[in-house]
Structures are given as C-alpha cells and as structure tokens.
C-alpha cells in the first residue's frame, strides 16, 4: 500500500510529468489572468473562435515541417495574432450580427485546418493532439517559450492594468479621457491570442475556451475586486492543471480533458456555494442593508 506522499511524488519520477506540471501551472496563471478580461467583457465566444481559427496555421506548419513539433509554436503565434486582429475587425465592420460573422469565419478556418491536416496519412493522432492537447509531450524548449511569452503577457497586463480596467468597465470614459481606445483594445485582443498560443499544447484548440473562461468565472463568483479575481483565478487554474494531471496519470484519461474537468468541478463548487449563500441571505435578510 503506497503512502500519500508516494502517490503524490510518483508522477514526478517521469521527466515528462515534471514538464507537464510546469506547463500546466504556467498556462493556468496566464490564461486565468487574460481570462479575467474575457469574462468581464463577455468575450468567451471570441476566445473560442480565436482558438479554433489558428488550426490552419498549425496545419501549414505541420505540413511544411513534415510533422516536426518545434516550429508549430511560431506558426500558431503568427496565425493567432492575425486572427485576433481579423476577428476584431470583423466585429466592427460586419454587415451581419457580430457573433454570426465570427461564427462563419471561425468554423471556416477550423474546417480548413482539419482539411489540411487530413492530407497526411495517419493524421488522426496528431490532429487529436492539436484539438485536445498533449501536455505530456511538452519539451524543454516548449517550456522556455511558454515561460517567456507567458511572462510577457503578465508584464503587459501589469503595466496597462488601469487602461485595460477603464476600457473594460466604461469605454465611453476611456474615450472622453482621450485614451488610445483602439490601441488598448487591440492590445487586449493580441494578449488573448498570445494566451491561446501559449496554452495550445496543454489543452488544444477545442478545449481552450475552458482555460480562458472557467477559472476566471469561478473567481468572479467568489471575489469583489479585480486584482483578487485575477489572483484567485490563477490559483484555481494552476490547481486544476496539477490535479488534472494527477487524475490523468492515475486513472488514465486524456490530460487536457482532465484539466478542464477539474476546473469545471471548481466552478460548480463555487456556483453551489454562491447559490446557497444567496438563498440563505434571502431567508435571513441583513438588517444593515443599504
């Protein structure tokens, strides 16, 4: 009978598990931080569309590189930035409703990606990695890229904290104060794109939106200030990454799905807590309410 300590430490005897844990931790922090703005601005659909839209870029990199994994990061980076600015432009100049226009473009791009990858024989395993993640396949080089770009994202969020805050809360105030509204808005879109690229190997394009939205939404239910929402979201996301990988290791389920399911359970717990609080507050109204 192994002790708890052995259970906890055993996965770390494999280098790929150590790298996977490191990647999941970093991706969790980055996605939850950027995800805070996505949740507050109601951009979940944009994040989902963006993640799917990078598949053709990944596919071209995959075909050109003959299946090599290293260049895929850069291919997805270029595609994601182009897609984020493109989708941002669609939502401004659309003849149709914004969500319709985004839906058409992202499904088309996603199909193009699948079509490109399917030209390769025995493509299903690789396609599954792009769609659902392959965090255990993260290399040391990938880890450096995640650390550098993840650090860059956090730095930009820190430096432009108050501009992002005002733009998200009251765009009209941002405009009357003569802030460079379009620039700040584009920066947020590009940050989302970078977060998607950094997380690509961990959860894949199909589950990406969960990393962006679920931990941040969980924190939204439990906090009242933006910095604490970011911090708690980052904590929940990292915990989900680590717990998910343990689950994946011990009960042999896909790692990306295990991480997302864990964060979903966190969300459900927070939601249940809030609901019970609301109901009990109705039963016992506070006397000092304003």
């Amino acid at each position: 009978m192994p002790t708890w300590l052995e259970v906890l430490l055993e996965p770390f005897s494999y280098a790929f598990m150590v790298r996977g844990m490191a990647a999941a931790l970093m991706v969790g922090v980055v996605c939850a931080t950027v995800g805070t703005y996505i949740v507050l601005r109601g951009m979940a659909f944009f994040g989902d569309a963006l993640a799917h839209a990078i598949l053709p870029g990944v596919a071209v990199g995959y075909l050109v590189g003959g299946g090599a994994r290293e260049p895929l990061f850069w291919w997805s980076l270029v595609t994601a930035i182009a897609a984020s600015i493109g989708i941002g432009a669609i939502s401004k100049g659309a003849q149709l409703r914004e969500d319709t226009a985004i839906g058409i473009v992202f499904a088309g791009m996603f199909a193009l990606g699948i079509a490109l990858i399917s030209t390769v024989r025995d493509y299903t395993a690789d396609l599954a990695h792009f769609l659902f993640g392959d965090v255990l396949g993260v290399s040391a080089g990938d880890l450096y890229l995640i650390a550098i770009f993840g650090g860059l994202i956090l730095l930009v969020v820190f430096l432009f904290y108050k501009e992002f805050l005002v733009l998200s809360f009251d765009p009209l105030l941002a405009a009357t104060l003569r802030l460079p509204v379009h620039l700040v808005e584009t920066m947020l879109l590009v940050l989302t794109a970078l977060a998607v690229v950094v997380s690509l190997q961990t959860v894949g394009v199909a589950l990406m939106v969960a990393m962006l939205v679920t931990p941040a939404a969980t924190a939204y239910l439990l906090t009242r200030r933006l910095p604490s929402m970011m911090a708690l979201g980052a904590l929940i996301a990292s915990l989900s990454g680590v717990i998910g990988l343990y689950l994946s290791y011990y009960i042999s389920i896909a790692s990306g799905a295990a991480i997302v399911l864990t964060s979903t359970v966190f969300f459900l717990i927070a939601w249940a807590v809030r609901t019970v609080q609301r109901i009990s507050a109705n039963f016992y109204p506070k006397t000092d309410r304003l």
Partner: protein
C-alpha cells in the same frame, strides 16, 4: 471652499488644450448630426457660460445623449462646430460625461474608490500608478458627494442615488470643469434626486458648469438657470418660465406630453419612460 482649487495640481494643467481667455466654456454653432438614414440633431446653436446650470429637456430620441457625446468629443458631428473654452473638444479632458446608470455593469469587480480613481487615469499617465495625492483627490471627491464612508464597497452594494453620486465624484476626481450628466434623476426617489440637486448647486459654487438631460419638466424649471428644449432641433433656450410655454412644449414633445389646465397654471405631464436613446449612436 473651492475644492477645484484645493484639488488642482499646480504642475499639471487640467486640460491638454489651452483655454482661451474670455471664451465661453461651451459654444455650439450650427451643429448637425446625421446617422445613415436619420437626423439626430439639426442645426443646434447654443452658448453656455462658466458655472451655469443648463437642463436639456426633450422626449426620448430627442438627441440629448447624442448632443452630450458630441460635446464630449467622442462623436463627430456631420456639420457645425463645438468649442470648449474657445477650442475644439478633441483635446480636452476637462469635460466629464456622467453616464446613465443603465450603461454600466454593476457586478463588475471594482470598489467605489476604484471607479472614482478611474477619473484620474489620464492625469496619472501611462505606466504610472496612483500616488497618495491621487488617493487624496478620490477621498475629497467622495466627501463632496457624501460617499466617503462607502469608498470600499463593491459598486453593486450602492443604491441608485449613491451610484449616480459616485459618477459625479469620478467627474470631480477628473477635475472636470464641464459635466455632462445623462439622465441623472431617472429612476431615483425624491430624496436621492434632492441629493443630486444639492450637489449640482455645490458644483456651481465651485465654478463647474453642469449640463443635465432630463424628462422632468418640474425639476428642470425649479433647479436650473436655463433650459434647452430639444427634439432634434432647438425648440427653446432660456429661463424655464420663458421656454416652458404650452405652445412650445406641445411642439417639442408632440403626442408624448399631456397638459392639464389647472386653476392657476398649466400642469405638464412629461413622458414617463426613459429608454436608452443611445443605442444607435456610434463612438467616433
């Protein structure tokens, strides 16, 4: 006295664009705004002097929000001109747009003090953080509107009147000299309306010019120096008793107004609804 003087940082001018000596704080000449297939504002001209209280009165869709957005410089007019202290509105940050309460997500995770501090971010500048002096501005602005004890509250915990006062505090923290209040009385009870009216008097003492849009003819006539009767074009501008004649009101409000003849007076019942008229307006 003189919070603006106390608050003003002598090192930074409160506006990027220099104010011209002797020019009125707001001068609008022949202003028109057209959307694709509708005229929102037609040939508006008006002059407002410093520390004046002007009520902008008109039915829904009269273009009140549009007028404020053009003055704030976030919406470009189709023709005509707006001058703030003799200069184009584009460079000024001395103008504050005090939004309708319905335009804001009240569950946003920010405190009252956080929102008031937002008024100062242009003063702070990029890549700079609030200093103790900026927090002093926030505290003093909250004191003027009587919210100093609620600074740490999450904004959803405020009542409607407190929410409105918080936005006025934000405009004060911005060191605004011209405040554009979009429907500040809508949806508030009498006591809260009274609070806002007293704050507007206080602002006037401090040299702040206030333009407030409202549906409420009684409020406008009792508490403002002049009224602008607007329904896409100007139907009257001047002291309330001159502008609010039965004839003019009927023309401006059309079928939305009920007039009741009483023994001594005409009682005007304005339209009661207050839907957002800005949905078709675009930011410049």
């Amino acid at each position: 006295m003189g919070i603006l003087k106390e608050l003003r940082n002598p090192n930074i001018s409160s506006h990027d664009t220099e104010h011209q000596e002797g020019a009125p704080i707001l001068e609008i000449s022949n202003l028109s705004v057209r959307y694709e297939n509708a005229i929102a504002l037609d040939d508006i001209s008006l002059r407002v002097s410093t520390a004046e209280r002007l009520a902008v009165v008109g039915p829904n869709g009269a273009g009140k929000s549009t007028l404020f957005k053009v003055v704030a410089g976030v919406l470009q007019p189709s023709s005509g001109e707006v001058k703030i202290a003799g200069q184009k509105p584009g460079g000024h940050i001395c103008i504050a747009y005090v939004p309708q309460r319905s335009q804001v997500d009240w569950k946003f995770p920010v405190s009252v003090a956080d929102v008031v501090m937002m008024g100062r971010i242009r003063k702070l500048g990029l890549l700079r953080w609030a200093k103790p002096r900026d927090w002093d501005y926030v505290r003093q602005s909250l004191r003027v509107v009587g919210l100093q004890d609620l600074a740490g509250r999450q904004i959803s915990e405020l009542s409607g009147g407190q929410q409105q006062r918080m936005f006025i505090a934000r405009a004060l923290a911005q060191e605004a000299e011209l405040m554009l209040m979009d429907e500040p009385f809508t949806g508030l009870d009498m006591a809260s309306q009274e609070d806002i009216l007293q704050i507007i008097v206080e602002l006037q003492k401090r040299g702040v010019t206030v333009l407030a849009s409202t549906h409420d003819l009684n409020l406008a006539s009792e508490h403002f120096d002049r009224v602008l009767l607007l329904n896409r074009r100007v139907f009257g501008l001047g002291p309330p008793q001159e502008v609010f004649t039965t004839d003019r009101l009927l023309r401006a409000f059309g079928g939305h107004l009920r007039l009741m003849q009483t023994e001594s007076d005409v009682l005007a019942l304005g339209d009661t609804c207050c839907e957002d008229e800005t949905s078709h307006a675009h930011l410049a």
